[in-house]
């Protein structure tokens, strides 16, 4: 028998256990992608239950359905335009009042609803009592209780979904906004209804209320309408800020009239979560604990991943050698070995980092600490024109820019997130260290440590200056206001963290991987052709390019050899060292390379300093370029990151080299 289809959408506030419920419902049958046209993550999954095939779409977690963020627009557009059979709101039973605010908005969308009361265990433990029958009656919506972390109530929920599907009834439940506002709503409804070509999926009352609240997204949606001007005339006649306040007031008033009837809350006793916060956000202990946790997360991400990365590296090298030695002719062996396998290796080498980082981030988020991290760092970050949430991505940047840029996903505001993505590449990652070690070690002797430290500081300074500069120019505006829930501490679920890790790991391989692979192959072609030249030598295209750009880099103190090494550095910055080895005929022997560098009159202590600064700042490596493209979803911003980086690097190196010469070095 053909199974019957049901489409349900999962909504709810952040931190209510929506993801845990989604995972409990769909298990491993999930599909992760992006909503069309935006970088908001879309998750969906399927369940086969009884004679039904149920498709679950996990909408972004939101507090509201205003147009405050892309998440909210995505969620409401889906509900209105795709018309799922049932909209399920996951509600945190221990935080009912605020959760009901979203309920009021979902009801206005006119969809059939079901409320899942999650975390009843926590509410009960605290001594809250919720009267389910009364709640169903007052909200005119079925209510199911679950404890998603223990998979309790899942079958009840599915049975109810099927039951609701069979009823197919519609219960409108409207909030009254008082005479004055209601009149305006009617007035706008009347004007809008005259337009026969309007998108009828959008309820007129809802559109009218949204317009009165000053929703620019809805305003834009009707901007082509012939009645647009007339509708706007009504909007312009009111004190819009007052209306906005009044409408929100009325919604909470509606909640306040029903809320005491369905729930009695225990007295505000000190919860476990409050006690934990007394320590973790303590005036004196908060920062040391924060730094210790961050250090731990950093060490785990990068130190723990190193053996795995080495293994991938060794395996890729071995495999490349094996393939090269068994393939003929030589050019094919080299293409497959050095080019393609090398390229795949370059993609895979970041996987351990990304997996561990996302596992840890998910633990931090699930536990509630991620919000505290932003809370603790916000003042400092705000001073440099950033948001508290930008701190963790920037910190991770010291390990590797690739997972760091992906970690910026936790920043909701698009501008804050974009700036973070654009400045992370200036944070000196681990791959740049070998360059500093070689040149500082060769030219600065006992001062090498100081020079290396200065490079790290330079990176941070350039990142801060860039943040300020971008705020004043291409990404105008102040950092987003810090209005953030500090959710109760909870024990994170292992399964959720593992799923989060897999999803992000594979998204990286799929999306960024292709760009990285292409980048590596292009560099291979340039280093190997015209056919017959030694790989990466002066006679190759890379060599020619090195000569071609030499005049541009001359003022920085670089000759063609350094130019070639820098071109190779685009693949991964540590390759600068290896290609210097090739160009100086020293191979892997770093001592021999040091000696030959010292013997080369073309490179001095000053030009090596300029080179270190340039290597730090110039265009991000291809892997970073790949994730910038993936995370911003825009070639424009990706090109901007590249060009801006090169410009900053050139100017900084120019100042160092020419300034040093003026000072007589």
């Amino acid at each position: 028998m053909e199974k019957r289809e049901i489409k349900i959408a999962l909504t709810g506030n952040p931190n209510v256990g929506k993801t845990t419920l989604f995972n409990a419902l769909t298990g491993s049958r999930q599909h992760v992608g992006n909503w069309p046209g935006v970088t908001v993550e879309k998750k969906s999954g399927r369940i086969s239950y009884k004679e039904y095939d149920i498709e679950v779409i996990d909408l972004p977690g939101t507090y509201s359905l205003t147009a405050y963020s892309m998440d909210e627009i995505v969620a409401r557009d889906f509900i209105i335009e795709e018309k799922p059979d049932l909209v399920i709101q996951v509600v945190d039973a221990s935080n009912l009042e605020r959760n009901l605010y979203l309920t009021t908005q979902l009801m206005e969308l006119g969809s059939q609803m079901l409320i899942v009361l999650n975390m009843c265990d926590i509410a009960e433990e605290r001594g809250d009592r919720i009267y389910i029958d009364k709640m169903q009656e007052l909200l005119a919506t079925p209510v199911i209780t679950t404890v998603a972390t223990q998979k309790k109530g899942i079958c009840d929920l599915l049975d109810k979904v099927i039951e609701q599907k069979q009823i197919e009834q519609h219960h409108g439940h409207e909030i009254g906004y008082g005479n004055e506002i209601e009149e305006k709503i009617l007035e706008i409804e009347k004007v809008l209804s005259e337009d026969e070509t309007r998108d009828k999926r959008y309820p007129l009352r809802w559109v009218s209320i949204r317009l009165l609240e000053g929703d620019s997204n809805v305003r834009q949606k009707i901007s082509d309408s012939p009645v647009y001007e007339r509708a706007m005339a009504i909007i312009d006649s009111i004190d819009q800020e007052e209306y906005e306040a009044e409408i929100a007031d009325k919604r909470y008033l509606a909640i306040n009239t029903v809320f005491p009837q369905m729930c009695t809350r225990a007295n505000d006793t000190l919860t476990k979560s409050d006690m934990i916060d007394r320590v973790l956000t303590n005036k004196y202990l908060g920062i040391p604990i924060f730094l210790a946790l961050m250090w731990g997360a950093f060490e785990l991400t990068f130190a723990f991943a190193t053996p795995f990365m080495d293994m991938i590296d060794i395996a890729a090298t071995w495999f490349a050698d094996y393939v090269s030695s068994s393939l003929h002719p030589d050019w094919l062996a080299s293409l497959v070995g050095d080019g393609i396998i090398g390229g795949v290796g370059a993609v895979l080498v970041f996987v351990p980092n990304i997996f561990i980082l996302f596992f840890l981030l998910s633990l931090l988020e699930g536990s509630g600490y991620l919000a505290r991290a932003a809370f603790i760092m916000d003042k400092l970050m705000y001073k440099i024109g950033m948001h508290g949430k930008s701190f963790i991505p920037m910190l991770m940047g010291f390990g590797c820019n690739v997972p760091a840029i992906m970690a910026a996903r936790s920043i909701e505001d698009d501008k804050d997130r974009l700036i973070t993505i654009l400045i992370v590449p200036f944070v000196s990652c681990g791959a740049r260290l070998p360059i500093y070690v070689l040149f500082a070690g060769t030219f600065f002797g006992r001062q090498a440590g100081t020079v290396i430290f200065a490079m790290y500081i330079l990176g941070i300074l350039i990142a801060i200056i860039s943040a300020k500069l971008l705020r004043g120019t291409v990404v105008k505006g102040k950092p987003a206001p810090f209005i953030m829930e500090l959710p109760p501490y909870r024990v994170p679920t292992f399964k959720t963290s593992v799923i989060h890790m897999w999803d992000n790991g594979f998204m990286y391989i799929k999306k960024a991987g292709s760009i990285i692979l292409v980048g590596v192959v292009v560099i291979w072609i340039m280093a190997s052709f015209p056919w017959g030249v030694e790989y990466g030598s002066e006679a190759s295209y890379v060599g020619s390019l090195g000569h071609a750009v030499e005049p541009l880099l001359k003022p920085l103190g670089f000759d063609w050899k350094i130019s070639v090494a820098l071109i190779f550095g685009l693949v991964a910055k540590e390759i600068v060292v290896a290609s210097m080895g090739v160009l100086y005929g020293a191979g892997d022997n770093s001592e021999a390379l040091s000696e030959r560098l010292l013997a080369d009159p073309g490179i001095t202590a000053l030009s090596s300093l300029s080179l270190m600064a340039f290597s730090l700042l110039y265009m991000p490596c291809v892997a970073t370029v790949g994730v910038i493209k993936k995370e911003t979803g825009s070639w424009k911003w990706t090109m901007f990151a590249i060009i801006y980086g090169v410009l900053v690097a050139w100017i900084t190196a120019f100042i160092i080299y020419q300034g040093g010469r003026l000072l007589g070095y």
Binding site: Y63, S64, T66, Y68, S94, N95, L96, E97, R98, Y101, E213, G214, E241, E244, A245, A248, D249, Y252, R265, D268, D274, D277, T281, N282, K283, Y284, G286, I287, A371, F375, I376, D378, K379, L380, Y382, G388, A480, P481, F482, I483, M484, E485, L486, P487, P488
Partner: protein, 80 residues
């Protein structure tokens, strides 16, 4: 009647409670604050400052909400 003095939210001391009278924050933050329950008539308590002094951790409608002093100074309250 006791004389109730209107002041702003950023002047609360940890542990002090108040009732919101007016939200004068502008722009996108205004709606977000409403969405989070910062409406006139709501009761609010300052739990603590962040370790560096800003932002603040408030309890409102039974949960913890953190906002900066900058926004808090544009929210008017009556201390309870």
């Amino acid at each position: 009647m006791v004389d109730i003095q209107e002041t702003t939210l950023d002047t609360l001391e940890p542990g002090e409670k108040a009732r919101i009278t007016k939200v004068r924050v502008k722009g996108a933050a205004r709606r977000k604050l409403f969405d989070m329950g910062m409406v006139a008539g709501a009761d609010i308590e300052l739990v603590r400052n962040a370790p560096l002094g800003d932002p603040m951790d408030y309890r409102i409608k039974g949960y913890h909400l953190s906002i900066r002093k900058e926004e808090a100074s544009q929210i008017f309250i009556n201390k309870l």
